[in-house]
Symmetry: C2
Amino acid sequence: MNSRKPKVIIVGAGFGGLFAARTFINKPVDVLIIDKNNFHTFTPLLYQVATSALDPSEIAYPVRSIFQRSKNIKTLMGTVTDINVEEKTIHVKTDLQEKTETYDYLLLATGSTPTYYGNDHFKQHALELRTLEDALAIRNHILSRFEQATWEKDEAQRKALTTIVVVGGGPTGIETAGAVYELYNHVLKHEFHHHALTAKVILLELGNKLLTPYPDKLRNSALKQLESLGVEVKFGNSISEVRHDFVTLKDGTMIPSYTLIWATGVKGSPLAELLDVPLERNGRLPIHPSTEVINRPDVFAVGDMTYLEDSTGNPYPMVIPVAQQQGVLAANNILARINGKAPEPFDYHDRGMMATIGRRRAVAWIYNKIQLTGFLAWLAWLGLHLLTLLGFRNRTQVFINWVWNYFTYDRSVRLIIDMEEQAEEKSISYKKEAST
Amino acid sequence: MNSRKPKVIIVGAGFGGLFAARTFINKPVDVLIIDKNNFHTFTPLLYQVATSALDPSEIAYPVRSIFQRSKNIKTLMGTVTDINVEEKTIHVKTDLQEKTETYDYLLLATGSTPTYYGNDHFKQHALELRTLEDALAIRNHILSRFEQATWEKDEAQRKALTTIVVVGGGPTGIETAGAVYELYNHVLKHEFHHHALTAKVILLELGNKLLTPYPDKLRNSALKQLESLGVEVKFGNSISEVRHDFVTLKDGTMIPSYTLIWATGVKGSPLAELLDVPLERNGRLPIHPSTEVINRPDVFAVGDMTYLEDSTGNPYPMVIPVAQQQGVLAANNILARINGKAPEPFDYHDRGMMATIGRRRAVAWIYNKIQLTGFLAWLAWLGLHLLTLLGFRNRTQVFINWVWNYFTYDRSVRLIIDMEEQAEEKSISYKKEAST
């Protein structure tokens, strides 16, 4: 009567892990979600936190809260440091202690991480936009550079402090560049008018076109929309050096800038290395169409961290819908295995893609058929994001913020909060305390 | 025609500095506000950020934005490190550089800072609640301790991780203790139900009564309301030791707890020491009734950092209304001096005081005459805070959040965001970069 239910451990509470966990609600399995954060991040809007348009809590939601009413789903905050596929255990570290957990089925969904293509020293001076902490760091950084620019007598220095370089012509790069320019043009310009500061936003695309997978019409439109906004777009130039106060391109161009946002280049999460199997390019973990990891029984993996080819031989893109759909499939396939049934292969339903450029421009390629540009595309983008935002409160509040920002450009979120200083002053982390 | 206008430097963008600056809008003076933050903090609601009920941006507002349309008011972010009253200059430090500014009139309004009454080593393990960073540190700390408690097998340790000690029976202590208990009782309890965690909130008042300046009826009501909520109140016990995992009282009682919030004991801002005049007790700077600093011509000071006696010989309390009214008076008296007129003395309009206890309990002493308790007092508190919150957007949003919280107890702000780790990984601060 009280026989043990199979235990599934999900590592990662991103889109893949969350959609898998949802599929397990009230199913005859015990689920443990492990994530290093206590919240899920709605990553498509990270750039809005970075540009002071939204608060962190408007795009992040506590995982415990999502599964509060699901008796079979538990949550633990920690980092997985080891996986033993023979003994079916994983090792987890928290600030407080280390712990070993046993699983019947393991589902890995830890996403991706930036890569600098061998130029790892770029990382030291580059800002990334992958996590909520990243977004807050960018917000602090940009606002601080503007504050510093007001003190600066040297004109060249002053310009460098308000020049923002965004690397990457994909959706993240385009959205970030557009939002940074609007933050300057509609907010900071007016607040710093005593100091006659001007900002420059440069989007560097290393290839020859923006939004590579999109049709030409949308790509050209994206470029035109970005330029009409005020963003300078530079193509076909790779980066040879990044320092705290300048960027140098391969053709010798030197851009004085204190702010470089790295919105290009991702590789699979390093967690995949713990499985000790050969990885595909970009560190992606090869999986079967069932989302089972090749040669690692009872281990499943989904989303950005995985490598799976579609019927044309191309790998599925590292995008959220793939992660979500693979998450659901992995959960259903684990349930099938438990019931002695055959798993189903992955069948991607591609609903298209879209990218927004500022607050009323966008490009959208719906079902990879209908092409929208400008305001109509922006409305489609807005609708999609409102529909998919997790948690009712967040949705309402983000909507209110958007409407408010739309009509007023007010951005009261532009606070420079330096938690580093705070942490230095006291031993607020458990780790430090415990070692005293 | 273009003769130089007198220059006023205001140090501190708290309630005193802000109300002074507002008084100077469009007056024939050039004003420079210097603050180490780029925002004003609505400190009465800090405890709501600390207990995950409000977002930082809902109680903080960028100073530049407040004075965006005021041509004669400028803002600089930095820390004052020296004051030269002979040469009438101040020295300011930022991340980027150091700078000397000249003034005709100087107005100091940097408030107060916690004191441990000689036990400065308590500070290492105590959490404070004076700044937005403090509030976020408390939020991270409490939520992390709960997460850690879920891993802890030892019952005594588990209890210590979810025991929160608040020191101080004044309004901040009472509001914090009440809010922490509600955070547990209405939110965390349900989210951690798998782990059967229970929380204990202990309010330590070193004296024999809560809310010292209030009439007995309100004090007794506050105690009863706190206890009915679930908070344990301990009187008449001073603290002999604070460590990361316990607090010991003078009578030998040992309270195992990983969380101590220091909500008692403040002294005047250390900036006062730069003036090199004898200070009153608690490091408070003696001023004339005109708010001019004694023996320091053309230097004014207002609010918590100052010492001024009322007609009965008692010093004015370190409360926001005193700071606000002194700020306005200081500004008017500077204008009077410029026009060769005599300054006016300070005349305090005391509108009473109030403290809230959880989400529908409070005590209020309006005009020091009308005594309200319970729900009615809470409504008065709510009305007052909504009326006085700066910035329309904030007011609307805080109100929406409050209504939402009131009916649902939803608290999606309970995110653990560790900016320390972020900062360690990269050289995101200008200082570090500049030194490489």
